[in-house]
């Protein structure tokens, strides 16, 4: 159950998207997110769905795997939609009871927000599913480099990100292990009301926190033991280079944005 979270998980297959320069993919993801917020017609979303479907096909990651990532945000999604339905004024009143009124505008905004969130998560999971964490942070570091002059610690940010990405599967595995160990002692995480379930989390959270701190300390020690002192003067084994296919990808991305603006 806990392994279902796909955000931040790399899916290793060979595809044109996997071979793209990470910087290209990061920039395209930005373009995609910005474009999403310009659209406010349903036809526009239709277009995005088609484009997204095509992109997913090119990545060769099974679509089922992408959709799994949505499970983690079901709660936020429902929350957003419900909130928008009830609290957005405007348009014809469809339904009214005591202080609750549902308007046409509210339903429209709610659906739009829901669609936006879903597309946002699926779209950005393409980036993390097709880019290994190392490539991803290399890309971020390289993109942030120009901002170093104004005091942005590019290398440190990239290093922090790569460590946190690396820790996601480790902590998930750890959680799984601790859960099993407590279940072996008869712990029950699935029944009871919300207070009981929250209480049942304590036997997981305490050991998890302790182990997270322990691991962080061990990692810091291991890095220091190998003379890590930050980014100054570090060279890398594989330096990033834009290729022709990155050029094509940018052209497709720009076209996508223009179409989104027009729609």
């Amino acid at each position: 159950m806990i392994r279902d979270i796909t955000i931040g998980q790399y899916y290793p297959v060979a595809s044109p998207v996997h071979r793209l320069d990470p910087r290209t993919k990061i920039l395209l993801t930005f373009i995609y997110i910005i474009s999403l917020f310009f659209i406010d017609f349903f036809i526009g979303y239709g277009f995005v769905v088609v484009a997204l479907y095509a992109a997913i096909n090119v990545t060769r990651v099974p679509i089922k795997f992408m959709l799994k990532g949505l499970r983690g945000i079901v709660f936020i999604l429902l929350f957003t939609v419900v909130l928008n339905i009830f609290f957005t004024p405007g348009g014809r009143v469809l339904f009214s009871w005591n202080f609750i009124t549902v308007t046409e505008g509210g339903v429209k905004i709610a659906l739009m927000m829901g669609a936006r969130l879903i597309l946002l998560i699926i779209g950005s999971s393409i980036l993390t599913l097709t880019t290994s964490p190392i490539e991803l942070t290399d890309g971020i570091e390289s993109l942030l480099n120009p901002f170093r002059r104004i005091g942005v610690p590019a290398h440190e940010i990239a290093m922090m990100m790569s460590i946190s990405l690396r820790f996601i599967p480790i902590l998930l595995e750890e959680t799984d292990k601790i859960m099993k160990a407590q279940m072996a002692r008869g712990a029950d995480f699935e029944t009871g009301n919300i207070v009981r379930r929250a209480k049942a989390m304590i036997p997981i959270m305490v050991p998890l926190f302790i182990s997270a701190f322990r691991r962080a300390e061990e990692l810091a020690m291991a890095m220091e033991a190998r003379c890590y002192r930050g980014g100054v003067g570090r060279t890398r084994m594989n330096s990033l280079q834009y290729k022709r296919r990155d050029c094509y990808a940018f052209i497709i991305g720009t076209l996508f944005m223009i179409v989104c603006f027009i729609l």
Binding site: K177, K180, M183, A184, R185, G186, D188, I202, P203
Partner: protein, 287 residues
């Protein structure tokens, strides 16, 4: 029959590129009151197998019977199974969470819904069984040493009063004194309480000394299975699958190779000492 497994196969992440067959067509039986060892190379499926014993993992195919009951049948209470089969994971001290040692050990019995008196009795029984001094009962488990933490964690499982105790490398990271005393306590519980014990260990010496039966896993399959003596008879074949014989066997083989007419199939140092003594007596002393 304490544990019976038939035709069990387990595949992790089926249908993804991470798909991995951890166990394949496993058949095994553990009789009541037996002390069984599981050995195998890292990644051979040992830890997956023991999670089958108390239903933490559901096999992709095949059946698991505990005391004759198929644990994945409908209407079986999983908590009842987990009370019967106590499972101590690797590095169990990492699962401690309570404010005091006493409360942590009481976690299991509390989950079973026992009365306060019963819980108290079980906590004291379990902590005594692992040999932890009374002065530690009200201390925070995080103040204890590594070996003491390990004892508390094992006590946490013992307090469930399982009929079958399963331990995944319980002595990993313990000092020699801690190892010996833990093993001796296990052996004592095995003999006095007729506790069925299944143990994973990488120490062939410990296995030779304590286990009555051995199950050897290799790449998710059972490579050898039988009494400890039978399995170690395979000798150097074990080396081919990443294992070894007890060290004393190597000494005996070396002695034989150098001209001592002596049996080599020994399990423990004591046995070897007897053989050598006999040999020397019959041969009339050292040349």
């Amino acid at each position: 029959m304490a544990i019976k497994i038939s035709g069990l196969t387990h595949i992790y992440n089926p249908g993804t590129p991470f798909q991995k067959t951890a166990l394949e067509d496993i058949h095994l039986e553990v009789a009541d009151g037996e002390f069984v060892g599981i050995i195998g190379h890292t990644g051979s499926g040992k830890s997956t197998l023991i999670q089958m014993f108390n239903g933490l993992l559901r096999p992709t195919s095949g059946e698991v019977y505990i005391k004759g009951k198929n644990i994945h049948e409908k209407g079986i209470n999983k908590n009842e199974i987990r009370q019967q089969v106590g499972l101590v994971f690797q590095y169990p001290e990492y699962q401690l969470f309570e404010m005091t040692v006493y409360d942590d050990v009481a976690f299991g019995p509390k989950n079973l819904g026992l009365s306060k008196e019963e819980i108290d009795e079980r906590v004291r029984y379990a902590l005594e069984a692992v040999g932890l001094d009374k002065k530690y009962y009200e201390k925070s488990p995080f103040e204890l040493s590594g070996g003491q933490k390990r004892r508390v964690a094992i006590a946490g499982v013992l307090a469930m009063k399982p009929d079958i105790l399963i331990l995944d490398e319980p002595t990993a990271g313990l000092d020699p004194k801690g190892r010996t005393s833990l093993f001796n306590q296990l052996k004592q519980m095995h003999e006095e309480l007729k506790l069925t014990i299944v143990l994973i260990s990488h120490s062939m010496e410990d296995m030779a000394k304590y286990a009555e039966k051995l199950i050897v896993l290799y790449k998710g399959k059972i490579a050898y299975q039988g009494t400890t003596r039978e399995v170690f008879k395979e000798g150097r074949k074990l080396e081919a699958i990443g294992l070894a014989m007890p060290q004393i066997r190597y000494i005996m083989e070396e002695l034989k190779a150098r001209g001592m007419n002596i049996g080599t199939e020994v399990l423990t140092v004591e046995e070897a000492a007897d053989l050598i003594k006999n040999y020397l007596r019959n041969a009339g002393g050292v040349k």
